[in-house]
Amino acid sequence: MSPTEAIPLLIVVLLMISIGGGDVQDMSVTFQGDNNIDSLADIHVVAGGTTTVPEGATVDGDIYVIGGTAAIEGTIDGDVTLLNGNLSVRDAATVTGTIQTYSGSASVSSDASVGAVSQFEAPTPSSSPAQRIGAFLLQFLVLGGFGWWLVTCHPLVIENVGTAITEHALVSGVVGSLGATTLLVLFVYMAFTLILLPVAIIGLFAEFLIILYGQTVFGYLIGRRLPIERDGVATLAGIAAFLLIFELLGLVPYLGGITQLLVAVVGFGAVLNTYFGLQRFEPVAIPGGS
């Protein structure tokens, strides 16, 4: 695992430690090779290679696994958290605290003595049709309400963003992908400073809102093409159609995901290029054509 790949998960670990009142200064990390540990500096992070707590050894502290393999054969007086990678708790092992699994592969022997085992179940939108419909309706209500408000109160604003999407899709896509990527990297690195973590979270949330803004405008553009006279109703119908198409695209492997990404970056770029719709985007005029 390289630093660039490890950083996001390490940020999560740092957050978890901070929330749990642990001391980050006492953290050690292994990235590669085979390592046997028989003592812990309070917190140990396994980011790569194989780390083993050998049989007979007793260590006092918590272990976080974000990559590689952690093999527990001895005793851990603390918790074990698996975020990514592999965790193997063998027959003779003892974990006095909780084994918390978020992701990755965990194998806990039935002969091992474990305080508690907890498996995090991420809510999946596809888990039941009712949940999916509920999520769809929630999305529709949020985007529809926003779209309705824009069309009725600020029609020029949404029109400007819509024009940037239809007439300058390539430019919007380029600016969207550059802007979104640059900001994403910036926010991740800001989060790593811990001091700027709140700013990073707000920034990431703002990015998400801009993507939603772009999606609303896509819905508005579809609505304009529908044979509905009232602008607000047409926009609502367009947003519903857009969300439906967007949902269906997710079912198409690879191509669907790529199309969803393209739609997101084009919308993102169009919003940025028009200063959130306050100004119509006009590319510079280059003289000298034939």
Binding site: T4, V174, V185, L186, I286, G288
Partner: protein
């Protein structure tokens, strides 16, 4: 885009002009980033037996002599009217390619320091004449509105080939490949320059008068840009800054096996292909931005990307310093990919900006000074600084930290400069504050 109009109107001569320009520039740039930048290091260290420091000093000398020769060649072209004579430019280019062909052929046979020095001097003369001549072809062959896209195509093709084709950085291999590629190129250039065929003459004549339409660059329409004006000096300084930080950082990165072997010289084809594709993506983005935004916006994006790249590189190194176990682990291809995008951005800008800051009367001088100072002088000075860092035993992190500081300073300086410029404009418009 003008190109699609020409295709619709079946103006095949103009379209052929695009093709000729892209082919010549791709060939020239590929030669530069492979044979000159990488092959010579191998020639000097492995075959001649010089130290890396000595080779770097010779490379710096190459940059400096190239700059001087280019300035003389560029000014001469403008003064004698060669800049507006396509046939003369093609003949000059033919001469340059012949010289480079001979030099490339004999390069692997060089075994002595004086021989290496002589090779460097002769190559500098060829390169010095070659780049103002080749850049000046833009006024004959590329319509102004399409220069960003054409520059993007050149950058994308050259970098894709340089990264995707798995070549060892060895002068023998580079030499064999270049000689094989240059031989048909010489033939074509020879025919274009000297053949007395009616059909060909009419094509060259038609292309030769296009500078009357395409000659005045994008930034020269409102006011003519003089060589000694701020409008020319500022882009030169900014491009110098970009070339300088790129060269200073890259010199150290390619000297660090763990960084090099996990990126540009990775044994994994997929990694190199990833970087090659990143170059293409970066070039396309730069082309689109160049064609649709002001120059200041393009520079801002370029500097932002460089600053971000170096922040990522140094963050990784700081991270590895805190957790020493990571030092031996491979690095993510994300960093070199972002680096590739940043490099493609400014390379695209470099191909488009000098013709766009020129007229047919100044193209030779402006491209020579622009690329000479921004490209070659920056390379010379960054090499000198890198050698000083090496002598001072500066660690990788300290070295890249300097590069990061420079890139952030450049970004901040540009942002402040643009803001102040706008303030001055407002003050002039209103004669002071306005309500």
């Amino acid at each position: 885009m003008e190109f699609s109009t020409h295709v619709r109107e079946r103006q095949w001569t103009t379209i052929a002009g695009y093709g000729l320009f892209v082919a010549l520039m791709v060939a020239g740039y590929y030669y530069n980033i492979t044979f000159v930048q990488l092959g010579l290091i191998d020639l000097g260290t492995r075959l001649v037996g010089m130290s890396e420091t000595a080779v770097s000093m010779w490379m710096a000398a190459l940059a400096l002599v190239t700059l001087v020769v280019a300035a003389v060649a560029g000014v001469t072209m403008d003064r004698r009217g060669w800049s507006t004579d396509l046939r003369t430019k093609l003949r000059l280019l033919f001469g340059v390619v012949c010289v480079q062909f001979a030099l490339t052929l004999v390069a692997p046979m060089v075994r002595t320091v004086p021989g290496f020095g002589a090779w460097i001097i002769l190559a500098s003369i060829g390169l010095g004449v070659g780049f103002p001549v080749s850049f000046s072809l833009a006024i004959d062959l590329v319509p102004v509105p399409d220069r960003g896209y054409v520059a993007a195509a050149i950058t994308a093709i050259a970098y894709f080939l340089a990264n995707a084709i798995p070549l060892s950085w060895s002068v023998d291999i580079f030499s064999r490949l270049m000689v094989a590629a240059m031989a048909p190129g010489i033939l074509v250039l020879g025919i274009l320059s000297f053949a007395n065929v009616d059909r060909l003459d009419s094509i060259i004549d038609a292309l030769g008068v296009q500078h009357e339409t395409y000659g005045r660059g994008r930034f020269c329409y409102d006011d003519l840009i003089r060589t000694r004006s701020l409008a020319f000096a500022i882009p030169v300084v900014l491009m110098f800054g970009v070339f300088f930080i790129d060269s200073l950082g890259f010199l150290r990165i390619i000297d660090t096996p763990s960084l090099l072997l996990s990126s540009w010289q990775s044994p994994e084809f997929s990694t190199r292909l990833f970087i090659a594709v990143a170059h293409v993506v970066g070039a396309v983005m730069a082309g689109v931005i160049y064609a649709n935004y002001s120059l200041s916006r393009i520079f801002l994006w370029t500097f932002t990307l460089f600053a971000l790249t170096h922040v990522m590189y140094t963050s990784d190194l700081r991270f590895a310093e805190v957790f020493p176990a990571i030092a031996g682990a491979g690095t993510s291809p994300l960093n070199p990919a972002l680096y590739a995008i940043a490099v493609s951005f400014y390379t695209t800008l470099n191909f488009a900006i000098w013709p766009d800051l020129s007229t047919p009367e100044t193209i030779g001088t402006h491209s020579a000074i622009g690329i000479g100072v921004a490209g070659w002088l920056a390379t010379f000075s960054s090499t000198a600084l890198a050698l000083y860092f090496q002598a001072a035993d500066l660690t990788l992190l300290s070295h890249l930290n300097v590069v990061q500081a420079l890139s952030l300073l450049l970004l901040f300086g540009l942002a402040v400069g643009l803001y102040v410029n706008r303030m001055i404009e407002l003050a002039r418009e209103n004669g002071g504050a306005s309500a």
